[in-house]
Amino acid sequence: MEDQQKERILEAEEEDDQGSERSVVEELQELEETHPEADASSAHSPLWVRALQPDPLCCPASYKKHSPQERHLLKMAHNFHCQYAHLYPIRKHLLLYPLNECGVQKFVSTTLQPTLLPYPELYTWDGCSSLVSDFLALLPLDPPFDLPTHLYSPTWVLKTRRGSCFDFATLLCSLLLGAGYDAYCVSGYAVKETCLLNQSCQECPLLVIQDKEKMSEQKTPLKKYSVKPRRDLSSRFREQQQSQRQAGVQAAVAGRQQDEQRLQESERPPVDRFIGHWVHCWVLVLSGSREVPENFFIDPLTGRSYPTTDKRFLGVESIWNHQNYWVNIQECRSGCVEMTFDLGNAVKWESLLCCLPVQPQLLLPDPKDPEDEYSDEEEEDLKVFEMPPSWVKRIEISQQDMEMRCPTGVKVIQYHKAKLEKVAPYLLKDGLVMRLTTYKDLDCTESDTVKEWFQHRQDYLEERELNRITNVTLERFGPGRSQALKTHRCAMLLQGMEHDMEFYSHSRVDGLAKRVERPTEITESFEGRTDFLYHRHIIFGKAPGPGGTTSGEQCPILKVVERFGRDCSKPAGEDVAERVFLTAEGLIRVTYHLEDDRIIPAQRSFAKFQEWPPSQRQQVFSPDMVSTFLVDPSEKPCTNQSLYNMLVSLMKEEDRVTQEIRSSSKEVRDILALRKKEESNCELRISIYSTAWSEEARRYREELERVANEERLWKERKGVDELAPLLAKLGNPEHLTREEAEQLRKECLASLKEQLVYRANLIQERFQKETQQLRLKQQWYQQNQLSMTQEEKEAYMSYCSSAVLRIKALKLRLGRHKDYAPQKYLMLDEKLRRDPRLSKHLC
């Protein structure tokens, strides 16, 4: 392996033997520049790890210690590594048991924790890979040509949201295994751009137009009695000339293509000197499970899939999953092109744990399987060591993190002449979730088109595309807008604006599907109408006012063309196919549908009679005003009555159509005004099911509570407003005079006084009554004391005690009332003085 790489370097050096050393230095410098945080001198733990050391107390025991099985495994791995080093002395070391975040050696396979998270998007490989690529930030390997010393657990990586390509691959592989894919981590070599996540030389995947040329143009097999094609009577000479001309055009095209190629070559980055040395880790998915038809690689940094023969992957050292570890013993001279991934083949792959057949089965181990122990025993009998279970805790990703995706919520990817920005939903006020900008030049200074995607917008805007060269804006909306607008394309023309709107026709009463408005014409198309209208074209004249072509509302209509589909309930000769109102010339032209075996349609043209008073109109109509062409000359012509009726109904229709046109051009203006308003004041819809966006919900709830609270307070205050009844007596005047205020105060105080006195009297009265009764009772007792039974005595005693209690209580209340009454009086006085309604008069 290593000698191959050396060869490559040598080749590279031979190519350019002048100042090769200098260029290597430059390369390294460049590296340092691009990744200043990677300190080349720090040998063991890079800076960022030191900054983010895990608290050893927080880590579970399995992170810090070895189980007996693991210890055994590590011994085996060590043995394996010694043998390997002996057999292949020139190859690089293997990544077998790097340190974890607690500084403990762990075998790489046990770092994989197959997990299926409860998010539907993580059930497919592309969902998993795009999540991993978005979720983590890359820390390039340091040095980039050596294996890392540390491999962190996926849980730690998820916490810190950053990692090397090995951490990326471990997390992705865990998710894929959990989703049931036959996935493996691959440790090997790749090109520099892949290792450093530099995509600026790649086409943006969103821009690659999928050439799905549907070759479904099956030529219907020539039937036995198919007619022979018409004789070809075109001139050979002309054809020849034509072909010559085409050849000329093709040559020109070829020349341009060559130019382009040259341009592209100049754009290509300089040759990498360290090709074959850049260590990378990615994921391999084997065919078989989950209906995967063919083996493929996934680069965890970009989240994209590649065929196993892709040129960016240069070599494989080893691969592993949660069950076993294999070392590649195939040649990698020509990258991965000739490699096979038949892991059972001992000639091509050396496995760590032998005798373990590769089983493409669902790989979620069930710890509670009762048969587990049994099978363990059995395998011990067979002297097979099984990979110990993972030491990593369950992988968990919160709903909120899932929505935020990127650590900061924003991710920018630079592609070839394009820039892609991804934003978490709800993060920006205008609901932007993705923006793709394409540029004319390599340095990305002059933008060409800007495409934006939105979510959760109140105005249902989903996509906006702006072409800066042609100045065309295209907006796409989701269903649910009031006018069922689907797309709106707006372009600047020489004479004015062109608005091209598409609608969700099924949710409109008039079935409008598309409307194109230009300064002097409107074209509308319809779908699913009961009157079978499917096309309407209107041509406007110049507005009568001086130089006023701006709004279509005042412009006179010159011509209206309407086309109808075939209404099968009518005979073809009576079913209107096209109606043309030549308003300017006072003509109406009607063309009917073609009859089954005809090529010429029946047609009529009516000259409208002018607006006469109704009594004169009857003389106005004459059969000359109608010119009819019936296909069948033997057909009886229509009677004058029916012609007259036709004309009358057509004229009515014309009025109706004019009304519709006016309202439709008004609708265009309304939509434009509404769009303008919406754009200036953009709001987001928050799903009622969205718990992750709980901040909004909480704020909303708090707001509700606050409002309720205020209302309650307000009501309470209102309840003790002493002035209210008095003010009401005065008729609630807005302003009070000084006398009135004084009067109010006095009255208010007087009423309080009265109340207090009344209350005091009430208590006094009760007190007196109670003492009176007690005295009477006592007299009665003294008189009849001797003749009383025991029960009567007891009743008297209990009465006395309760009466004394009552008297005591009343006495107490009376005393307190006397104490508090002046205070209350003063408090009210104070309050009235401070009352905003009276204060200015009383102070």
């Binding site: 039937k223 036995k224 009695y225 198919s226 007619v227 022979k228 018409r230 073609l594 075996d597 005809r598 090529i599 010429i600 349609p601 109704p614 009594s615 109109r617 009857q618 106005v620 109509f621 010119s627 062409f629 296909v631 000359p633 009677t639 004058n640 009555q641 007259y644 009726n645 009358v648």
Partner: protein, 519 residues
């Protein structure tokens, strides 16, 4: 009936009455120009859609055959006693014959589109003769002489019947009247001006459960029988088209014996085997069906291609005409606006040139199609004749076997007959024979002639069947080819006429435009 009416002289519908009615009921509003136009032009009877002939003391319906477009006819409050003269009004949807003296429902069988029928206040005692009026929705038979509730069953066949009026009939006094009708006519929504009472329907359904069940069963049986009959007919039709009807069984054999009294007598001779023709017949039958399928595929393929070619051609033609119309309208509009005589002249020439070019192109296209079709028709004819020839040859190869069988049978019969004759003569006959059969065995000649006659009849039958088959097959081929040729000629003529007619019309248009210009 009003006594006043009876005193007056009854009328028959005549021309004069109709004319007056049509005129009165046409557009009348003097403000409406349509009225004056109608007056000037006259109203065509075949265009009249509604006609009211009420309170006219009409006794007999007549002279209505011209009103073929009529959808609504009111003949109420007359003295009609017989429904007649309505046969040609096939578009009628609404017919009002209330307040008349009708005793029998009749003469309505051609009015297939009828939906609303009123026979209120007549003298009808039986509901009948309405089998073909399957679209009936509203029927009024109130104030009649219906006394038997059984009449209701007849109304079950009208699946669309929603409204029914039977009030004022004698059977309305029956306490079961409402429940019975509700149960028997389950699609009914309104009865006697009211919504059908659901409770009454429930009780009716319970009360008449058995009868209803039986009725339903009978109806199902009837429909099933109809279906079976239809299917059998279809199958027979298919066999007929394959020219092998009644060959899939012992039919030929049976028919041979049906016209042969002697054979029946001879059949009871001991030791005589029946004729083994069934196998051969089945062979022919299978062959016929096979051939039929092949022929059908061939014919279908031909017509499909024919239609395709015609449709393709039509599309081209229509496209040409459409393009032309677009350009010619512009030219005409320009001509209207231009005043310069020289320009006008040039435009006219341009117009003429364009028109003649269009006609030429259309005719060329048509000619091409004719040539193409001629080719495929010829090829088709050749193939079909070949196919038929092969079929006939194979069949005619089978018939001799039939004859051989018959000959063998005949020889054996003769042998047995002679042996029996011997035995009869010797009196050693073991079993008794019927007298009429014994009569044959009086002497050798009688026997010989009887057996010979039987044989001849059999052979004749076979020959006849063969001849019939051959003639029919040949006739089919010639007729098919003739139809194809005729259709093609007709199509061609129609297209030519269309093109020339259009050219004439366009020339006319141009002349008019020019006239306007000059005049």
């Amino acid at each position: 009936p009003c006594p006043q009416q009876e005193m007056d002289i009854p009328h028959v519908i005549d021309e004069e009455m109709l004319q007056r009615a049509v005129e009165e009921q046409g557009p009348q509003d003097p403000e409406n120009p349509a009225a004056s136009i109608a007056k000037a032009e006259g109203i065509q009877r075949e265009h009249v859609r509604r006609l009211r002939l009420d309170f006219r003391k009409i006794l007999k319906i007549d002279h209505l055959w011209e009103f073929t477009c009529l959808t609504k006819l009111q003949l109420d409050n007359n003295v009609i006693n017989k429904i007649q003269g309505l046969e040609s009004l096939t578009n009628l949807v609404w017919l009002d014959l209330s307040f008349n003296h009708i005793e029998v429902i009749e003469g309505l069988n051609t009015l297939l589109k009828l939906e609303n029928l009123s026979l209120y206040n007549n003298r009808i005692s039986v509901i009948e003769n309405m089998d073909s009026l399957v679209h009936l929705q509203v029927v009024s038979l109130g104030n009649n002489l219906l006394s038997q509730l059984d009449n209701i069953v007849y109304l079950r066949k009208f699946e669309n019947l929603r409204t029914l009026n039977l009030a004022g009939n004698p059977f309305c006094k029956d306490e079961n009247y409402k429940a019975l009708i509700a149960a028997y006519l389950q699609g009914l929504v309104y009865l006697d001006y009211r919504l059908v009472d659901e409770a009454a329907r429930e009780t009716g359904l319970v009360r008449y459960q058995d009868a209803l069940e039986e009725l339903r069963h009978e109806e199902e049986e009837a429909t099933r029988a109809m279906e079976a009959k239809r299917r059998a007919e279809e199958e027979l039709q298919m066999h007929r088209e394959a020219f092998v009807e009644f060959l899939n069984g012992p039919y030929l054999f049976d028919s041979m014996y049906a016209g042969d009294p002697e054979a029946a007598k001879l059949a009871c001779l001991p030791g005589l085997n029946t004729l083994q023709q069934v196998v051969l017949c089945m062979q022919m039958f299978e062959l016929g069906l096979q051939q039929w399928e092949r022929r059908k595929a061939e014919v279908d393929c031909f017509f499909e291609c024919y239609q395709e070619a015609v449709a393709d051609n039509r599309k081209r033609g229509a496209q040409l005409v459409n393009d032309f119309q677009g350009s010619i309208r512009e030219t005409l509009a320009e001509m209207q606006h231009s005043t310069e005589p020289r320009v006008l002249e040039a435009q006219r020439n341009q117009f003429r040139e364009d028109l003649s070019q269009l006609c030429d192109t259309l005719l060329t296209v048509e000619l091409q199609l004719v040539n193409q079709l001629e080719d495929i028709i010829k090829e088709f004819e050749r193939n079909v004749s070949e196919m038929i020839g092969g079929f006939l040859e194979t069949l005619q190869g089978i018939y001799p076997f039939c004859r051989d069988l018959e000959n063998q049978h005949h020889e054996k019969l003769q042998e047995i007959a002679l042996a029996t004759l011997d035995r009869v003569a010797k009196g050693t006959m073991e079993q008794e024979m019927p007298d009429d059969v014994l009569a044959l065995f009086v002497d050798k000649d009688t026997l010989q002639s009887a057996v010979g006659a039987s044989h001849d009849i059999h052979l004749l039958r076979i020959d006849n069947r063969e001849d019939e088959l051959v003639t029919r097959v040949n006739k089919w081929v010639t007729e098919l080819m003739k139809t194809i040729q005729n259709d093609e000629v007709k199509r061609n003529r129609k297209r030519m006429a269309e093109i020339f007619h259009y050219a004439d019309y366009m020339k006319e248009q141009m002349r008019e435009t020019l006239d306007q210009e000059t005049g």
